[in-house]
């Protein structure tokens, strides 16, 4: 239907102002490191610090692994809840809301108690083990977003018929998941992945208490006692995270059959 685009444009522009001006204000401040002039000095300092790259790289890697584990956990669950166990839905939905209200510090102290070096599953006694624990921690944090977006995507395709088609062709469950369901909920997985990535990149408490060299603690370290660098770092983190999402989207769109 023909309709005026004025109001949508106004809404969009209003939204853009609300979202961009605080970033611009931060950016403006970050340029003031040298007295009297605008300069990129703060950016030079931040980007010149080897800790920046190392910690961002670490967190990005952890984020990708978190996305993989999260998808592997959430997709089959959402699938089964929708297809076979609809009564489980309220329970699962409540569980996926919990991480929003249970303080992260409570969860991580719980981990330290349960998976410390003298426990039955001494994950914290090695660095790799702790990385794994951190990934699991992030999976819980990302659960509310990942579950919702995957679940929504699944509602929009006929998973029952696709499943049966694959079954009649002799497919195993694993293959149905990997080759039939997963590629077709890609949009949901992707938006869940975005959120997961953004969460993991900025997360501080868990990384810090598990003592992993992540980006969140790094930002905190820089942020606490400096004036201009934190602002520059915030802008860089924002832009780089956004760029990483673009990259994730690009990769996902290169996969077959994605145009629709």
């Amino acid at each position: 239907m023909k309709q005026s685009r004025l109001i949508p444009w106004l809404g969009f522009i209003f939204g853009a102002i609300y979202f961009l001006v605080p970033l611009i204000a931060t950016f403006e401040f970050s340029l003031r490191m040298q007295r009297g002039t605008y300069s990129f000095e703060a950016y030079r300092v931040v980007l010149g610090d080897p800790g920046f790259q190392a910690s961002f790289g670490y967190s990005a890697l952890i984020a990708l692994l978190t996305i993989i584990v999260g998808v592997a956990l959430v997709v089959p669950t959402a699938y089964l809840v929708q297809l076979k166990l609809p009564r489980l839905r309220p329970v699962v939905e409540f569980m996926t809301l919990l991480p929003l209200v249970v303080p992260a510090i409570v969860i991580v102290f719980g981990y330290l108690r349960m998976y410390n070096s003298s426990s039955f599953l001494p994950l914290t006694s090695t660095a790799r083990g702790t990385d794994l624990l951190l990934i699991f921690a992030y999976v819980t944090l990302a659960l509310p977003y990942m579950y919702r977006s995957v679940d929504t995507a699944m509602r929009s395709i006929d998973i029952r018929t696709l499943t049966e088609a694959a079954q009649s062709l002799g497919s195993s469950w694993l293959r149905i998941m990997l080759q039939v369901i997963l590629p077709n909920v890609r949009v949901g997985v992707l938006s869940g992945a975005f959120l997961t990535f953004a969460i993991v990149i900025g997360e501080f408490t868990m990384a810090s208490l598990l003592n992993r060299p992540a980006f969140g603690p790094y930002m905190q370290l820089i942020g606490a006692n400096r004036a201009y660098e934190p602002a520059a770092l915030a802008i860089i983190a924002f832009v780089v995270t956004w760029a990483c999402m673009g990259l994730i989207q690009l990769v996902a769109n290169l996969s077959p059959g994605s145009k629709r």
């Binding site: 401040f29 003031r32 490191m33 040298q34 007295r35 510090i105 991580v108 102290f109 330290l112 108690r113 410390n116 070096s117 003298s118 426990s119 001494p122 914290t124 006694s125 090695t126 660095a127 702790t130 810090s208 208490l209 598990l210 003592n211 603690p217 905190q220 370290l221 942020g223 606490a224 006692n225 400096r226 004036a227 201009y228 934190p230 602002a231």
Partner: protein, 343 residues
């Protein structure tokens, strides 16, 4: 001798895990670097931004864990020493310079021991504030509208409580028993006047102008001043009255995975070298008087410190005084000050 044995044992452990040691705090950056250089141990630094409560909880949570998440040593507010000892979270150790630590600032059994102190000061952005306040009542001046901030939440941060206490002590003319209530009253007035900014003041907000006056430990303020390098120019003022000193204490975790490295760390911190390292970060080390008496403090270092007269007026609140003030301030902040802020 025993020191060599300790060094050997510590080296065998290989590393030390610390917590809550910001590099800009008390010169810890250089202190840690000095320790590493001297003994070749790894130093694994946990959350530098943690509060004292975090440090205690980290010990508790890591009971049974020998991973790198478990702190070996802590550096906490004075009141946390006795309480942590009571909960059995500490193990005793007496450094070789034990006797030169004032008795008032250490546990007789060696579970905890004062490490450094500073006094509460005004950190002022002089780009914005032209009439630099010199004493607590000056903070109420008209031209300081929307200017004054604490360095934390007085319901939970030691530093902020001490600031309220200091303001109160000034108003009560030194009567410690009234300091808490008077401090609340002062901040209520500051808030009503519109001078109080209820965000956590730090370097960024100071420079940006949101909090051109921050009330914090003098050593933090001085370190900030150096970091900002005149952009903006910062003046650190020790108030004329109500000069309150805060003591932090050092202790070793009862569950320290590297007990020998922890002991070696203590030996280093309490050696002349370690004490001077703190002093370089504008902190008064606990053995300050001992070092001064023995002429071990370089003159240029002394010259950089705030004037000694200011420190002569410094009050060291007792544990009891602190406890009482904390009770009043943290519990009533909301109703006396915060409730109005929230409107």
């Amino acid at each position: 001798d025993s020191m060599d044995d300790l060094v050997a044992a510590a080296k065998k452990e290989g590393s030390l895990t610390t917590i809550a040691l910001p590099h800009d705090w008390c010169g810890y950056g250089d202190v840690i670097a000095g320790f590493k250089a001297k003994y070749g141990l790894e130093v694994n630094e946990l959350n530098p931004d943690a509060g004292s409560g975090d440090e205690i909880e980290a010990i508790k949570a890591n009971k049974g864990n020998t991973g790198p998440q478990a702190p070996d040593v802590i550096d906490v507010g004075l009141s946390f020493g006795p309480s942590a000892k009571a909960e059995g979270l500490l193990q005793p150790y007496k450094v070789s310079t034990w006797d030169t630590i004032p008795d008032a600032a250490k546990d007789a059994d060696g579970y905890w021991y004062g490490d450094y102190y500073g006094v509460l000061a005004f950190e002022v952005n002089t780009d914005i504030v032209k009439n630099v306040p010199k004493d607590w009542p000056d903070l109420l001046a008209d031209d300081l509208a929307n200017s004054v901030a604490l360095a934390g939440d007085p319901r939970s941060a030691n530093q902020a409580i001490q600031a309220v206490y200091a303001a109160g002590l000034s108003a009560a003319k030194g009567d410690a028993s009234k300091a808490g209530e008077e401090g609340l009253k002062f901040f209520a007035e500051l808030n009503k006047k519109g001078n109080f900014v209820p965000v956590t003041g730090k370097a960024a907000s100071l420079a940006q102008g949101a909090t051109p006056v921050v009330l914090r430990w003098d050593y933090n303020a001085l370190a900030d001043r150096d970091t900002l390098k005149g952009n903006p120019p910062v003046e650190v003022v020790i108030p004329a009255t109500g000069v309150v000193a805060g003591v932090y204490v050092q202790a070793i975790s009862a569950y320290a995975p590297h007990p020998n490295a922890a002991k070696l760390w203590m030996e280093y911190l309490y050696s002349d070298e370690g004490q001077l390292g703190w002093l370089k970060g504008y902190c008064h080390p606990i053995r300050f008087n001992d070092l001064a008496k023995n002429g071990k403090i370089p003159a240029d270092l002394l010259a950089k410190l705030p004037p000694a007269e200011a420190y002569e007026k410094a009050v060291f609140p007792t544990l009891e005084e602190q406890g009482a003030a904390k009770e009043v301030i943290s519990k009533q902040w909301d109703t006396v000050v915060g409730a109005d802020v929230a409107k």
